[in-house]
Amino acid sequence: MSKTDAHIKWRIAKSGAAKTIIIILAFACVIPLLAIFFYIIKEGITKINWHFIVNLPKPVGETGGGIANALVGSLLIVLCASVIAIPLGILCGIYLSENRSTKLAYYSRLAVDIMQGVPSIVVGIIIYFWLVKPALPFTGKPLGFSALSGSAALAIMMMPIIIRSTEETLKLLPDSLREAGLALGLPYHKVVMRILLPCGISGVLSGVILSVARVAGETAPLLFTAFGNPYMNTNILKPMQSLPLLIFNYATSPYDDWHDLAWGASLILLLWVLILNISTKLITRKWRVQL
């Protein structure tokens, strides 16, 4: 009898120990997160001030300087990417959610899955050969590095995220909504744009914001497209600086001044990504349409 009791006690102890180990391992991931946040805040907070935000980087050796060109550049590049990716992404998501079983839907879905898995550096390579290198039809000269090509690369990375979340959101809407609209004599595009999309707006919007958060911090696709620029530039047909590019260039440089700039920039980038992620959660909760 006691042997079986002891065995049972052993099994129970094992179960408790397993639980403890699992909890420890699970929460261990908090450590690197805190370490990164802590370090970036510590190094970056002292570097950020008004000058930092409005000035351009100074040449090596001169103190001061800021990241204005990277802030403006990031904003413009992501904005252009959004203008391309959001309409195309939402419309593709609409097609996929409305046509479940056509052949085109199958291959399109597969293509979107593949697009989502393409490594970011490869996206950069592709856009280089599509938009940067080839000679333009009218001028005969290549466009060269440009913010526009950077936006195109980021758009390719944004679209799968937007398409997925739009498709999933709209799929959840009941058929009765669609039927009610069509039975009133409404044309198909009105049913989609004035009934389905508004009812699913929280899901679609959160997908959009998520995609922006994802590409705001991307560097690799911009290496051979937007390329970076030490000066302020608002012309999207020319090379432009972006926050992640600046961080990469200055962090890997041997100059302490530039390291300082990179820390400040990292803090701003981190805050930006954080804010976007939090907004996604708030929007999903607040704008949800009660069906």
């Binding site: 009133l184 044309p187 009105k190 009934i195 009812c199 349409v289 009660q290």
Partner: protein
């Protein structure tokens, strides 16, 4: 002799290979309430949805035959025009959850992008809600969302929404099966009023409801229109043995 507003001849419908409506010939007279009854799976709902061309929205669905609205073949018009003339109320009330009661009623205009002057919109809303016997209950909360109403009120809102388009025919697909008895009877009362201005075709699986509200009744069985007669006559003296069996409860 009442004039016929909807009539079908040789009408058939399929879901893929499934022949669910077989050679139906029926003539619906104007300003009547016609009940369509029959056991589940008899094709009554499918037939109803063929009248306003909702059936073809399902992948793999098709139909053949003539379906006339006022001497125009519904299948030779663009579906949008058909649905502007033939309104539909569904089994589960489906007001648009993102719109207010007011906007729900004029949804057929507003969502279509038609700009109407506010006075005209107000008129339409008040008239439609009155005809649906809902105006008194909601006139002070027109800006509220439609989903906060009770089931019976929501269904009347859907009726108002359909009426706002000024259709000639109103189709009802088991409109009270999801409602409680009190709401059911208020809607049945409504049918009586509505038929003054519209022609009503009501699919119901509830025989007693068919007997209560309709002028004529059609009995469907396994896709065929077995019998179609004045309601009083059909329930007191059915001509087909299948009708008799259904009415006496041999099957349901």
């Amino acid at each position: 002799m009442e004039s016929s507003i909807v009539n079908s001849s040789g009408f058939n419908a399929w879901f893929g290979e499934n022949h669910v409506v077989k050679n139906v010939n029926i003539s619906i007279p104007k300003n009547n309430v016609v009940a369509v009854m029959g056991p589940s799976g008899c094709g009554k709902t499918t037939f109803l949805r063929c009248i306003n061309r909702m059936h073809e929205l399902i992948p793999g669905a098709r139909s053949e035959g003539k379906m006339m609205l006022n001497n125009e073949d519904v299948y030779e018009m663009h579906p949008i025009f058909v649905r502007l003339k033939i309104g539909m109320v569904f089994q589960r009330p489906n007001p648009f959850p993102n719109l207010s009661i007011y906007d729900n009623v004029i949804a057929g205009y507003k969502l279509n992008g038609m700009k109407l002057p506010k006075a005209e919109k107000d008129e339409i809303v008040e008239k439609s809600l009155s005809r649906a016997a809902l105006w008194k209950e909601v006139k002070d909360s027109l800006h509220k969302k439609g989903t906060f109403l009770s089931g019976g009120q929501q269904q009347r809102l859907c009726i108002a929404r359909a009426i706002a388009m000024e259709p000639e025919v109103l189709l009802f697909d088991e409109p009270t099966s999801a409602l409680d008895p009190i709401s059911t009877s208020s809607i049945e009362e409504l049918f009586h009023e509505l038929k003054k201005n519209y022609t009503l075709i009501i699919v119901t699986h509830n025989m007693q409801q068919a007997a209560r509200v309709s002028d004529k009744t059609a009995f469907f069985y396994v896709g065929e229109l077995v019998e179609y007669d004045d309601t009083k006559l059909m329930f007191t003296n059915p001509k087909d043995v299948r009708t008799q069996n259904y009415i006496t409860g041999r099957f349901s």
